[in-house]
Amino acid sequence: MIDALAARPSRRRVLAGGALIVSFALAPRVLLAQTVQGAAAPPLPGSLKTEPMLDAWIRIDADGAITVFTGKAELGQGIATALIQLAAEELVVEPATIHLVTADTARTPNEGFTAGSHSMQDSGTAIMNAAAQARAILVKAAADRLQLAPERLKAEGGAVIAEDGRRVAYGELVAGAILHVRAAPRSDLIDPKNHRLIGKPWPRIDIPAKVTGGVAFVQDLRLPDMVHARVVWPPSYGATLKAVDSAPVETMPGVLKVVRNGSYLAVIAEREYQAIAAMRALADAAQWDETPTLPTEDELFSYLARQPSQLIPVRQDSGSPPPPVQSVAARYRRAYQMHGSIGPSCAVGLFRDDALTLWTHTQGVFPLRAAVAELLALAPEKVRCIQVQGSGCYGHNAADDAAADAALLARAFPGRPVRVQWMREQEHSWEPYGPAMLTEVSAGLDAAGKIAQWHYRVRSNEHSTRPGTAGNLMPAWHLAQPVALPVPKPIPLPEGGGDRNALPLYTIPFADIVYDFVPAMTLRVSALRGLGAYMNVFTIESFMDELALAAKADPVAFRLRHLEDPRARDVITLAAERFGWSNYRRQPGRGRGFAFARYKNLGAYAAVAVEAALEHETGRLRVIRAVAATDSGEAVNPDGIRNQIEGGILQSSSWTLYESVGFDRTRITSRDWSSYPILRFSAVPESVEVHVIDRPGQPFLGTGEATQGPTAGAIANALADAAGIRIRELPLTAERIKQAIGV
């Protein structure tokens, strides 16, 4: 189902990866021959492609201590536990004996961002293979030492053991940096049927500290001599600081310094609450020039529709499709929605001896380092970024901005660690939101009730304005010498950004799919869990039900009619079966809905069925139960997958039912949880079931974002089933539903 256009970039990437390996391994003449023939050597697995040295991933000390390094970050998604499971499995040791070091520019491989549900594919694959190759090297070294054939030895419990019972500990074998070697393309992986750890629900290593008050978050760091900072943000986009009399604030208790640089205004104090009190006083004293730069909320979508854009083809078949027997068309909208982390963003910076250390909950320590180095005009080697967990981020929230604050303020106050945390209203009004989007779809059915043609257009800003440059850090916009946000480049297919999942996985003989990319931002936007997939899947899956209705087909059967991929069919069949789709009895005021997608058409498969109840008088829709089936390839930690999927379903139901960022011509009006309500316990479903299809030996497929879109589609379809109304605008608020049913 991947069309020619979409496939091209990925093939190029594979070739580039292959060529890289070939150039290490083969003589130039052979390299040339390989390139000409286009038959590259097999690429190294996962992130070994970019960091091929085994000891960059796994270090074993002479005392037997094992350290595993990953460039990915624990974000509360459970990645640390799964990576330890993988390493422990292949090194044949107990997980508790492994120390894992996560994203740190001074210590770990550069694996870019922890995003896009890539961690298991990239880092998990690299660590699993590196561990297997390290084990083979250790067994070989022990065999040499004991003068036995390697087959007569096995690794176990941190040692290599011979058939005759002789035993050499790993620590005794690692002299001479025997792990300082390049990875090979293939590893002798443990047969999945002998797995001790992979595929077992392993308890998360980070949970005990989180439930007992341990130091678990960057917010909890208390470095010796640390001071606290708060920033006074402008009240609106583009506002400039006209005047501020900071003298009274400077004499407030505990205040150490007021920092002003252009329109950037902050205060540093001994104690956190002193910093907050001073920030408030400073905010009262500050005078701003504001200009109305925004459309009104009511005209948002017509405004978005008028913005200049660039057309990016996703799939455009040539020729003309057969005339349809029946046609259906619809348009859909999605409001701006926020990450809304429960803990506002935070970072600690220490500037000493012309070098900066940052403790940050960024998703990308290396890109952040580059951006901060540019911001402070330092060489990148002078900046170290260490990732420490923060509150769940669900994409690019204000983590990097807070890190930039810590960088600017640490430099303004060198020698002592400076901790800065944002306030609730700052996080709400300045974080980069998930973009507002418009979609338009029309399709024709043939006489057999199958889709014969499909026309689709999605209009959106790009979905990533992540760092890499100083201009991606919001504090940089307000300095006396401001750095502007660079115009984002669309993320190329097959992953895509605004067009992520714009291409349905369904069999469609003729398709014309276009991404109508709007470069100029209205509200500040960036990556929110799932990127464009949330809206594209909501649209496609709502529309599939509209088509099924036209074809007088059952929605599940209609989807299966258009799917060949057996793994897609399996998750759909399983979810429908466990939900009780075929013998469902509708109670008054209730309805059922179904939706499916394969995330990015490359990642995990997910099908979601929900039952929802509509309260007629109020228009309030509530998900009563949800049943999901997923296939993430080999399931390393099935309970970790279930946790992510459950969370994805609840979070997406909150987005889908309640959430839109409010604004007036000048300011963001969603400034707290009462002006931006989200899911609370009273509206949580009675049950959420997740069925994981494990595929031992198959590649890992990213899971974390897989149910954002399907949940939205399933809820809209359940509303249509319950009340006979189709709402095509997200969120499906009670007011909107009330209006549609006419109460």
């Binding site: 998360r204 949970i207 008050g213 678990a216 208790p253 429960i342 609730r424 609840l650």
Partner: protein, 164 residues
């Protein structure tokens, strides 16, 4: 000087009496459990117990707690010796990022002390003030149910010792 008893230990703290309890707990007493979420009484991340009642530590000035007994998540057990709710949250793997969890546990603790056998509806109603953005709600509810069962069994077996 304000006197407080936190997790059974008396403390005298020298801060501006208007300082919310949250900052006294975090900065003076160096406890991590109570978290800053909103400072507005809207999210419950800062929830602790004062004399058995769940309170928002972000809003309550420390002066209002003079002489009171405060309990934070650190007072319910340790990683090596977790209390019933902590054990239940671990058993149910009831956390994703976990930022909201200490507040959830304290609110549940206050409810279970008042009502050891809550119905599912009562649990949901009691937890309404606390937000979780990761969508861990189903597991949180299961963990509270599990802890309530465990605490009841324990108190039936040993009525004097097993208060929650």
């Amino acid at each position: 000087m304000i006197e407080l008893t936190v997790n059974g230990t008396p403390h005298r703290v020298d801060v501006d009496p208007a300082t919310p309890l949250l900052y006294v707990l975090r900065d003076e007493l160096r406890l991590n459990g109570a978290k800053f979420g909103c400072g507005l009484g809207q999210c419950g991340a800062c929830t602790v117990m004062a004399e058995g009642e769940a309170i928002y530590s972000c809003l309550t000035p420390v002066a209002a707690l003079q002489g009171r007994k405060i309990t934070t998540v650190e007072g319910l057990g340790t990683a090596d010796n977790p209390g019933p709710l902590q054990r239940a949250f671990i058993a149910e793997q009831a956390a994703q990022c976990g930022y909201c969890i200490a507040g959830m546990i304290l609110r549940a603790q206050a409810m279970l002390q008042r009502n050891p056998s809550p119905s599912d509806g009562e649990i949901r109603a009691a937890m309404e003030p606390n937000l979780c953005r990761c969508g861990t709600h189903m597991r949180i509810l299961r963990a509270i149910r599990r802890a309530s069962n465990e605490m009841r069994t324990a108190s039936a077996q040993n009525p004097t010792e097993a208060r929650p």
